[in-house]
């Protein structure tokens, strides 16, 4: 593989952002991608990896500018081409798959039309030939019934299917270079494994060179031939991916690897749990949760759909119980029923003491963007009578310190904070009423792996300090493994397997659990 010529070669590339005050985010990096290989670019968010990828297609956001260096592709310097010359290269020679397949597709056009548009732009095929080609490509990326899917809109497809559409779109013109920017980050772990396999297959079948960008080392491990580790706009390490995994040379790479292990490792921070276990803080007996779908025809009754199909569960004081399963299995619905956000339920939910607090997945969407952090944290306190303004403010400052954020943050808005900081705020909000029991719904799924590790550490510390009980919901087996004493595996609204985390991970009995465990990237 090493003897193959370079397809893409980047030399001394610098990228700056900002109109008046320029800030350099990528500092003179150089690397090359050989014909037919898969090169992984790894780094946490803000390391400049996405910016570098976008600059290859000259798609930098407003204010972004290549300030130095060349990008050689097939004998052309892409930085010197005019916009009209770039238009011919985009999609045809180099194409791109983005992180979030929902927002990356146009919501008001059918996915078929969006894939076909590529051929309309870059080929001289007739309308009939284009359709056939689209169907064929859809089949190739693993979409059954392409004729049916052609006329679907993005919101009618699942996340995995949407990402397959994105890949079909990027591959249909048989580009020589495919840039994949975190293509699996927004997906469930089972679907993630399938998408990675698909990319590998396309690489082998068509010889497409792939530039794969990710924050997750475990994802790139099996896929990529070579790796580049980016930190703060500079390459800190590069080489064969096997070597980097076995002998990381730089501290930062070691840190990344260690962070990946915290998330996927169990040994940390589960001490002193069994000692404090006493009686049940939550008892669920044969719980069924429904939600209503409006009828399709005029005289049809509204349909009640059973999402959680008879679950019994006990959570003891002081323990952490994990609920794991892929999206759509009913785990979030269960959490909402427990916290009282859904009332259409059958069966019994016995809660000891007050209603549990909840931390949601999306730390941006669940914080009101027009309110300051201080206000957001104070709000639950206002509902409790008998606290003066000063007492409330004191409590806010106290909790900010507990989640390791400076107290000045109370004057900021959610948009001023990074994803990890926002999630700390969400946790602080849940903790400010000093609850005994907290339900965490995918609290780290939207975060980078290094930030994930920090937030998990924080949760562990808070648990010890306040003697909390957690019900921890996640699709990520690694996270569950590191956080929970017991785990319940949910599949299609039912608990298919339960037990001590260690036992379930070492001896899974149910097929679905085995499948979940095997798709964890190792």
């Amino acid at each position: 593989m090493n003897k193959k010529p370079d397809l893409l070669s980047i030399q001394d590339l610098s990228i700056s952002f900002g109109e008046r005050k320029k800030k350099e985010v990528v500092h003179k990096i150089s690397f090359s991608v050989k014909q037919g290989e898969i090169l992984g670019v790894v780094g946490e968010s803000g390391s400049g990896k996405s910016v570098t990828a976008l600059s290859v297609l000259r798609l930098l956001a407003e204010g972004g500018e290549i300030t130095n260096g060349c990008i050689w592709f097939d004998g052309m310097d892409l930085t010197k081409l005019s916009e009209s010359e770039m238009v011919k290269i985009r999609g045809d020679e180099i194409s791109m798959v983005f992180q979030e397949p929902m927002t990356s597709l146009n919501p008001v056009l059918t996915v078929g039309v969006q894939v076909e548009e590529m051929l309309l732009l870059h080929s001289k095929k007739t309308s009939e030939e284009r359709k056939t080609a689209v169907y064929e490509m859809m089949r190739e990326v693993g979409l059954k019934n392409p004729e049916l899917i052609y006329s679907k809109y993005p919101h009618q497809l699942s996340g995995g299917m949407r990402q397959r559409i994105m890949i079909a779109l990027a591959m249909i013109c048989k580009p020589r270079l495919l840039i994949a920017d975190e293509p699996t980050t927004a997906l469930d772990v089972t679907i993630q494994a399938k998408i990675l396999a698909l990319l590998k297959e396309l690489n082998q079948k068509h010889g497409t060179t792939i530039l794969f960008i990710s924050h997750d080392l475990t994802v790139v491990r099996n896929l990529c031939d070579r790796l580049i580790v980016l930190y703060d706009g500079q390459i800190v390490e590069s080489g064969e991916s096997r070597d980097i995994f076995q002998n990381p040379k730089e501290d930062y790479t070691k840190k990344l690897l260690a962070a990946a292990e915290i998330v996927h490792d169990s040994s940390l921070g589960r001490a002193s749990i069994t000692s404090s276990v006493s009686d049940a803080i939550l008892e669920i007996k044969d719980l069924k949760v429904y939600y209503t779908e409006s009828g399709k025809r005029i005289f049809q009754k509204k349909q009640r759909k059973e999402v959680v199909k008879g679950i019994s569960l006990e959570v003891m004081q002081g323990e952490s119980v994990g609920i794991v399963g892929e999206s759509g299995c009913g785990k979030s619905t269960l959490a909402k029923a427990i916290t009282g956000l859904i009332s259409d339920i059958e069966g019994e939910i016995l809660r000891k003491e007050q209603k549990p607090q909840m931390v949601f997945q999306d730390p941006y969407g669940s914080l009101n963007p027009s309110k300051r952090i201080g206000w957001l944290l104070e709000e639950p306190l206002k509902l409790q009578k008998g606290l003066s303004k000063q007492e409330r403010e004191q409590r806010v400052e106290e909790i900010l310190q507990k989640v390791n954020l400076p107290t000045e943050f109370k004057n900021r808005f959610p948009r001023d904070l990074s994803g990890g900081q926002r999630q700390r705020i969400a946790i602080a909000r849940a903790m400010i009423l000093h609850p005994k029991f907290v339900v965490l719904d995918e609290p780290v799924s939207a975060l980078d792996v290094t930030v994930q590790a920090q937030v998990l550490e924080l949760l562990k510390n808070l648990k010890q300090e306040f003697k909390l009980t957690y019900l921890f919901i996640s699709h990520d087996m690694g996270v569950i493994h590191s956080m929970c004493d017991r785990v319940c595996v949910m599949y299609q609204g039912e608990i298919v397997e339960r037990g001590r985390t260690e036992d379930v991970f070492q001896n899974p009995t149910h097929d679905y659990t085995k499948q979940l465990l095997s798709s964890v990237p190792k």
Binding site: R90, M96, F98, S104, P107, V108, E117, Y153, R297, I298
Partner: protein
């Protein structure tokens, strides 16, 4: 199907409600058709007799029921002011107002769409700033005042049309249209200003979304991205706003008809209210309400066409 039936029922209920409000309003305001017809000097006896013969002395709900029964059969009675049937009165005037409104809506679309696109493509360019300034100004000017200015500039100074003149449709359709253009401009220009600004904001918002980046990565040119991808998305909020503006344009045309001396529904309505000519007022109000509701229905349908996410399954 369910959707259409729902809409139809809403339409009927709204019309009933409007008819009752109109009827009730006429009970509350002082004076009635009898007073208007006989003048202020009429004796109480004369008034009583005329009221008796017109059925105005019956209880309110009886009169409302009678009015409703007649209205359903399409008979709005006789205008007390002109002594001709309301039906024929309206059939003469409705086309004038309908054409005025239609032309105004046409101008609104044809002018604001390209302007909005232009402003969004060259944000903060000279043209954008100039148009933003213009639209701020025109938004603040009421249509009747604009009507006066247009009459002054195009009628009196440039002599492109004779102020106060009107050519009936039956006589010369081309001439009719050419005389409608100026009042239509007076109605539509403030709305064009609003629509342009709204569309521009919506386009700029859409431009920041991820799918635009995808479209660029596909190799689409900026212009193609605007027309093929962004515009359809950006139109979604604009359509709702547009529906409200159409209703507003109808209301605006009532005043503008006065300024340009057009024999449309608006002028008829104003004189009819002054003369307490209830039959004419109620018919006119019901017609206008009906048109507004139908336009809203069309807007709802278009909305669904444009945004697949709200499509009924």
């Amino acid at each position: 199907m369910k959707f259409y039936i729902k809409k139809l029922i809403t339409l009927i209920i709204t019309l009933l409600f409007v008819s009752f409000i109109t009827f009730f309003a006429f009970q509350v305001i002082p004076g009635d058709s009898a007073v208007a017809k006989l003048g202020m000097d009429a004796t109480e006896e004369q008034l009583f007799e005329l009221r008796e013969s017109m059925g105005l002395n019956d209880p309110m709900f009886v009169r409302y029921g009678r009015f409703l029964k007649n209205a359903i059969t399409g008979d709005f009675g006789t205008s007390t002011q002109y002594n001709v049937s309301v039906g024929s009165l309206i059939s003469e005037r409705l086309p004038v107002t309908a054409w005025l409104a239609a032309l105004s809506v046409l101008f609104m679309v044809v002018i604001s769409l390209p302007l909005g696109l232009l402003c969004a493509r060259k944000e903060n360019g000279f043209l954008d700033r100039f148009l933003t300034f213009l639209s701020q100004t025109f938004m603040a000017v009421p249509p009747f005042f604009l009507g006066i200015i247009i009459t002054l500039i195009f009628g009196i100074v440039l002599k492109w049309f004779i102020p106060g003149k009107f050519i009936p449709i039956s006589q010369d359709f081309g001439g009719f249209l050419s005389y409608m253009v100026f009042p239509a401009f007076a109605v539509s220009i403030p709305k064009v200003a609003m629509l342009t600004k709204f569309l521009k904001t919506s386009l700029l918002r859409e431009l920041s979304f991820d799918y635009v980046r995808t479209a660029r990565s596909k190799g689409l040119k900026k212009k193609q991205i605007m027309t093929k991808h962004v515009l359809k998305n950006a139109l979604i909020p604009v359509i709702t706003f547009f529906g409200m503006l159409i209703a507003d344009a109808l209301a605006g045309s009532i005043v503008v008809e006065q300024v340009f001396n057009l024999p449309g529904m608006g002028r008829m309505l104003v004189t009819a209210i002054a003369n307490r000519d209830f039959s004419v007022v109620s018919a006119a109000v019901l017609y206008i309400a009906g048109i507004v509701i139908i336009i809203n229905f069309i807007v709802d349908m278009t909305y669904q066409k444009v945004d697949p996410r709200v499509r009924i399954s």
